[in-house]
């Protein structure tokens, strides 16, 4: 049962229920007896063990929460939503959270602190419904030291105000854990919390909108020729007021354009912000001169409208995914505390205080926090998330254990060899790929077009002034020069990309494809090579396909094997144990397990051996040559070989057609950390000229991407584990596959719901279409510019023409961008509302 090894459990969610077994073949009869759902968490209860107030509970933990809430007058929790709780692990160590009271940890976790009152923000991945919000905000009724609590549902966060004397931080954490909301405390939490930048953009839009509306009111009388009625006094007054109102627009709202234009001039690159800034300067300068000298009314309404529309484009593109982190490194994966052995006993210490030579105790399902040496006899380590190796490996006393592996089985002791930050895995982050920031906005489509555009506009403007000067009309030439700059101000051009890419991003997010930002669409469109990870990407990490080779087992034999395997914590055993429901009539006696070899016991009067070929030989069981190769579990009854189970990770649905389609259009490669035993299976899927690489270390994967890039390919890397982190970072597009909301995913450009993996081809097609739409949008705005610049170069541009041309061109481009992108999404089948949704508010994240 590999699902218990998913990274989710470290995010604080109590271990998920076993994944529903898929693809079972053979004789096993997995139909479980009907169970009542737990009144608290909704999971099936074992027959009537825990009952209270005529409600059934699946475990003592859930029952305890129920009675706690009932006694505190919070029984309402169960009427707000049906079975709203999450399963609670009752067996937590009492000092589990003690490390939180360590002043250095406390200081870094608290948002605010003084003698009397403190405030902390915890990330609680278990928050999933209205009842959770209600319960957490009534937390003060459960503990006298807790004051106000405030939940942010979208971010799955709770801010708790509490009195540190009455309730130390450890008590708050333990209270939350006790009612089923275990705080996720990873190493990343210790990094100083980044204060979210307050939305300046919103304020800038507000100012621009305010000025735009008012200036328009002042301009309208002049456009409509009411000048004669209102008289010259008002003409002057309106001009001055407009000028005053436009000042904050230029200074505050358009501030980012000045800065960015100045930066690109200094770097000697031409971004679109340069002509925008030039246009704004020309607009304001010309208007100010006209108004001050009493010549005319200026173009201030156009100026304010321009800035207003430009900022709207920006805010449209700035779609953020609050619940997803695109830049998580290993720190989000490692826990905040571990159990250290001291001469006086055990203590929970913060992982950052771990020293070389410390003795650690690691329990089933816990993470090895640093490179260490094994002190206990044997240990079974699951490295699937770290190296991609899907089979757990056996290590013996004295062996070197790499950080990041998850221990399976009984508790073991380790001695740390390296600090956390210098471990094998975390040293990957020292690669230069991580050192340079992602350059986002430089070589974008918009910037490439704007370079040509800017040169052209400047050429036309200069030509206009020279032409009129030669014709002997220098003042008209000057007007033509500024007019060209004014009318060419590339509003429509600047809006085409934000609205197209922003729409694409939104539509994709609805289907569970979350992009870091809109520019990722452009990057995806350029991809011509795709590298895929195997475990967790092409195969589902949580489900295994189990097959029996040999003469069919009788139901009785299956039950006996399942009963035996139920005694072991090895993932294979747990998977096999699911083949038959647990039955109490089968007595398992004389059970013994040798880690990395197998199990033996007497079940129902027969002696059974389950394990590797070597294990059976050790017990003098002859094995016929015909048994299937590695990754199989051999079975012997009463000293006679009976057959073998093979366990393969289940291929995600439709992966075969996906690989077939992609193989024809892209350079395709498989890079897996796993061993070669599935080479044949994937050679068939990938086709003849496929590149299949197995046994790849994280560094190898990174190097492979680099080699592809040096051959001129634009590479998309699709992976899911920490071992792919380097490759995801190096790839031109890094796609992290996640099984559900809130799961750890390494830093990437795209976070992809695993159900959307088969649609990878359509996503690339859609992105290509979206960039094509951007180009068409550029053409439309270019057409408007040709008209506008012709008028301007002739020196007959009036504010009225400007005031009409500018919004019309912008509106056309925006409507086209949004409409065409939506149509394209429909064409590629990416708009169905039934798809997975990583951002959905109502989705139950419990399972």
């Amino acid at each position: 049962m590999l699902s218990a090894l998913q990274p989710a459990s470290l995010a604080g969610i109590p271990a998920n229920p076993p994944g529903i077994p898929q693809g079972i073949s053979g004789q096993a009869d997995p139909a479980p007896a009907p169970h009542l759902p737990c009144h608290h968490c909704g999971e099936p209860c074992s027959q009537g063990q825990f009952k209270l107030d005529s409600h059934s509970f699946c475990c003592l933990g859930c029952q305890t929460v129920f009675s706690l809430l009932r006694d505190s007058g919070l029984g309402n929790f169960y009427s707000i939503a049906t079975r709203p709780g999450t399963r609670v692990d009752a067996a937590a160590r009492p000092d589990r959270w003690a490390f939180l009271d360590d002043p250095s940890v406390t200081a870094r976790l608290l948002d605010f602190n003084d003698e009397r009152i403190s405030r902390v923000t915890f990330h609680l991945p278990a928050i999933h419904c209205v009842a959770c919000v209600w319960l957490l905000e009534n937390l003060y009724r459960l503990h006298p030291g807790v004051g106000r609590t405030q939940v942010n549902f979208a971010r799955r966060e709770v801010a708790i105000t509490f009195s540190p004397q009455k309730a130390p931080l450890s008590q708050i954490a333990s209270l939350l854990a006790r009612i089923g909301y275990e705080p996720s405390l990873t190493l990343a939490e210790l990094d100083h919390k980044t204060e979210r930048p307050r939305s300046r953009l919103g304020l800038q839009i507000a100012v621009a909108g305010f000025a735009f509306g008012n200036i328009m009111l002042f301009s309208l009388p002049l456009y409509l020729g009411l000048d004669s009625v209102t008289g010259p006094t008002f003409r002057g007054l309106f001009g001055w007021l407009s000028l005053a109102l436009a000042l904050p627009v230029v200074a505050f709202s358009a501030g980012d354009y000045w800065r960015s234009a100045w930066a690109s001039v200094r770097q000697r690159t031409l971004t679109l912000d340069v002509p925008i800034a030039a246009g704004l300067a020309a607009l304001y300068g010309q208007s100010a001169w006209e108004i001050l000298s009493g010549h005319g009314e200026g173009y201030l309404d156009s100026l304010a409208g321009l800035v207003f529309f430009l900022l709207c484009g920006r805010i449209f593109q700035r779609k953020t995914h609050e619940r997803l982190a695109f830049d998580r490194d290993y720190k989000g994966f490692f826990p905040l505390a571990v159990v250290r052995q001291t001469p006086t006993g055990e203590e929970t210490v913060s992982i950052s205080r771990l020293q070389v030579g410390d003795r650690l105790r690691v329990r089933h399902g816990e993470l090895i926090p640093a490179d260490a040496r094994l002190l206990s006899d044997d240990a079974l380590i699951d490295y699937s998330f770290v190296t991609g190796e899907s089979e757990p490996v056996t290590r013996h006393s004295g062996d070197h254990l790499y950080a990041g592996g998850r221990h399976v089985g009984g508790a073991v002791e380790l001695e740390t060899l390296k600090p956390v930050s210098q471990s094998y895995l975390t040293s990957l982050w020292n690669d230069e790929a991580f050192r340079k920031g992602r350059n986002d906005s430089f070589d974008t489509l918009t910037n490439r077009y704007s370079r040509r555009f800017t040169r052209l506009v400047l050429a036309v403007a200069v030509a206009a002034i020279l032409g009129w000067a030669l014709a002997g009309n220098a003042s008209r030439g000057l007007k033509a020069f500024t007019s060209v700059l004014i009318v060419a101000c590339p509003c429509a051009l600047a809006l085409a990309a934000p609205f197209t890419l922003g729409t694409a991003q939104r539509l994709l997010a609805r289907r569970g494809v979350c992009l870091r930002n809109g520019h990722v669409v452009e990057a995806i469109a350029k991809v011509d090579a795709i590298a895929l990870d195997k475990t967790g990407t092409l195969t589902a990490a949580s489900t295994t396909e189990i097959r029996f080779h040999g003469t069919d087992l009788t139901p009785k034999e299956t039950a006996a094997i399942a009963a035996l395997c139920g005694q072991s914590t090895h993932p294979y055993s747990r998977r096999i144990a699911q083949l038959a429901p647990a039955s109490e009539s089968l007595l398992v006696s004389g059970f013994s397990e040798t880690a990395g070899a197998g199990l033996s016991a007497q079940v129902g009067g027969r002696s059974i051996l389950v394990g590797s070929a070597a294990w059976l030989r050790r017990h003098d069981v002859p094995i016929p040559d015909s048994h299937p190769a590695s990754a199989s579990v051999l079975i012997a009854f009463d000293g006679r070989f009976r057959g073998a189970f093979t366990l393969d990770n289940t291929l995600r649905p439709e992966v075969d057609t996906l690989l077939h389609n992609l193989g024809q259009r892209f350079e395709l490669a498989l890079i897996s950390g796993d061993n070669e035993r599935e080479r044949n299976r994937f050679a068939v899927l990938f086709g003849d000229h496929a590149r299949l690489h197995f046994n790849q270390s994280p560094q190898d994967k990174l190097g492979f991407i680099r080699r592809l890039q040096s051959k001129g390919h634009t590479v998309m890397m699709v992976g899911d584990g920490l071992n792919d982190a380097g490759a995801l970072r190096q790839g031109d597009v890094g796609v992290a596959v996640v099984e559900g909301v809130g799961k750890f995913s390494p830093a990437s450009d795209v976070i992809l719901d695993s159900q959307m993996v088969p649609r990878l081809g359509s996503i690339v097609d859609f992105s290509r279409r979206a960039t094509w739409i951007v180009r068409v949008g550029f053409s439309i705005s270019a057409a408007y510019n040709v008209v506008g610049i012709s008028i301007a170069a002739a020196g007959i541009l009036s504010p009225l023409i400007c005031a009409i041309l500018m919004p019309v061109s912008s509106a056309t481009v925006v409507l086209f961008a949004v409409g065409a992108t939506t149509l394209a999404a429909r064409r590629f089948g990416l708009t169905s509302a039934a798809g997975p949704d990583l951002e959905s508010e109502t989705r139950n994240t419990k399972r």
Partner: protein, 63 residues
């Protein structure tokens, strides 16, 4: 027509007030979380009489 001056002043003052209120709302975090309040309103009930009433001031302390 001189009444226009008054009207312009009034309209500018009104719009300016709205703008100021918007600035205040943004600065004090009224738009920070737009999801949870909508859920909260569904479950709000009068606080049950409880001996475990909070002893802390019911205000947010911004760091």
């Amino acid at each position: 027509m001189e009444v226009l001056v008054l009207l312009i002043a009034a309209s500018l003052a009104l719009a300016g007030t709205v703008l100021a209120v918007f600035f205040w709302a943004t600065r004090t975090g009224q738009f920070d979380d737009t999801t949870t309040p909508a859920m909260r309103i569904l479950t709000d009930d009068p606080p049950a009489p409880s001996t475990l009433s909070p002893t802390l001031p019911q205000k947010t302390q911004d760091p």
